[in-house]
């Protein structure tokens, strides 16, 4: 099937082959850089996530796409929907903030609470809208979540779009087929 294309490549030379592979590689590279850039701008490692469970119904259903930001100096308040990741658990969880507590910023007087609560030292407790109990059991020993466990706060969402990612994760062959198809298209086409 590829004999004709391989003969064409040999005729056209090394530079041509490198150029065609570059076409494909640069598409991937620009996609990756856009993702990383978006993550840096929103200050979160994963600015777009997919909802996997139904614990936030009727607000979010499985397969929804969520857009996150993580403003470093803004306090989280009750009612914010956050995505957090417990060290030791591999999947992030999206639930609503139920309680927030402020920790004293360590000054000369121990035990004093600072007049202006500092965003970075917040403690949070979360609960899924569709769950009966709060998330204490998910915290793997912790009593409260710290800011460093939070991936981000949900700013917006798109319904159903996330099913593509879910399908690609459940059927990895789909991912390879898509990538392979894209590669062939880029290699054998000229702008």
């Amino acid at each position: 099937m590829f004999a004709e294309e391989i003969r064409t490549f040999r005729r056209l030379g090394v530079r041509y082959v490198l150029l065609q592979i570059l076409n494909f590689a640069s598409v991937l590279a620009s996609g990756l850089m856009m993702w990383k850039g978006l993550g840096l701008i929103t200050n979160t490692e994963s600015p777009i996530v997919v909802v996997l469970s139904g614990s936030m119904e009727p607000a979010f259903y499985r397969g929804d796409l969520l857009f996150l930001t993580n403003p470093p100096n803004q306090r989280y308040v009750n009612g914010d929907i956050t995505v957090y990741k417990i060290p030791g658990a591999d999947i992030p969880i999206v639930h609503r903030v139920l309680e927030t507590h402020d920790v004293a910023v360590g000054g000369k007087k121990r035990g004093a609470v600072s007049a202006a609560p500092v965003a970075r030292k917040q403690l949070l407790l979360t609960k899924g809208d569709n769950n009966n109990i709060d998330d204490l059991e998910l915290y793997q020993g912790l009593e409260y979540l710290e800011r460093k466990h939070i991936v981000g706060k949900v700013r917006g969402f798109l319904p159903y779009v996330g099913y593509v990612t879910i399908a690609m994760n459940d059927f990895p062959q789909l991912k390879y087929a898509l990538l392979g198809g894209l590669g062939l298209l880029a290699l054998f086409q000229r702008e």
Partner: protein, 239 residues
């Protein structure tokens, strides 16, 4: 890209007698007449693979013409192609890809907060190189498809340099889609320091003069036309 590979030999006896003796032509090659005749002959004894494209797509036809032009002018007795533009595009492009890959790998291995400075650096570098690459392709490279050099020896070393750009004009109700060539030619000696001659030429032909209804490119006719234009510009400012 669709090119059927079928060996196809033309048998045009009138032109072959001149083309079969390129050595004789090259000894007096500084004489522009010999060069023009060499170019115009479009050696028909050369075995060519059939080039077949979709003749509804002006882009495919332009690429086929560009490739035929490069193949023709890169013949050992004609010009030696200079790959500077291609090499710069390859170098910039692949550097961008490696920077992106490195940044991605680093961001994956190192935890988010700690990785931020390096990822910022990688991102800024990537954007800078991409912008430079785009500007280069737009301003410096432009429509150039072929840059060739040729050195001949006749009392002194004469260097000839030709730059060819091509554009494709789409079809209008009055004329068919056309392929337009624009050449720029410089002849100099003693390492490029003294200029012997310069020339410029443009020529346009409709694609229908070279492609038949199946989409097969008539390479001999194309090469004859290109040879004529190149010979013309080389002869225009002869010694």
């Amino acid at each position: 890209m669709a090119s059927r590979i079928r060996k196809h030999t033309n048998g045009d006896s009138a032109a072959s007698s001149q083309a079969e003796d390129p050595l004789a032509a090259s000894t007096s090659s500084t004489s522009s007449n010999a060069i023009s005749s060499l170019l115009a002959s479009a050696a028909s004894s050369v075995i060519r693979e059939e080039v077949k494209v979709n003749n509804a797509s002006a882009t495919e036809m332009k690429h086929a013409c560009d490739d035929a032009l490069k193949r023709f002018l890169s013949r050992p007795e004609l010009f030696k192609q200079i790959y500077t533009h291609t090499d710069i595009r390859l170098a910039l492009g692949w550097t961008c890809v490696f920077i992106a890959a490195g940044t991605g790998l680093y961001g994956w291995k190192v935890e988010f907060e700690k990785s931020k400075p390096v990822v910022w650096a990688g991102l800024i570098l990537y954007i800078t190189l991409t912008v430079i690459q785009t500007l280069y392709a737009y301003f410096i490279e432009g429509d150039i498809v072929f840059v060739g050099k040729r050195k001949t020896f006749d009392k002194r070393i004469v260097t000839e340099r030709i730059t060819i750009s091509s554009t494709s004009t789409p079809s209008t109700p009055t004329h068919p889609p056309a392929y337009s060539l624009s050449l720029s030619y410089v002849r100099s000696t003693s390492g490029g320091k003294s200029l012997l001659g310069k020339g410029r030429a443009t020529s346009e032909r409709g694609y229908n003069t070279f492609f038949d209804e199946r989409g097969v490119l008539d390479q001999e006719a194309f090469e004859r036309w290109v040879g004529g234009v190149v010979g013309g510009v080389m002869e225009g400012k002869a010694d």
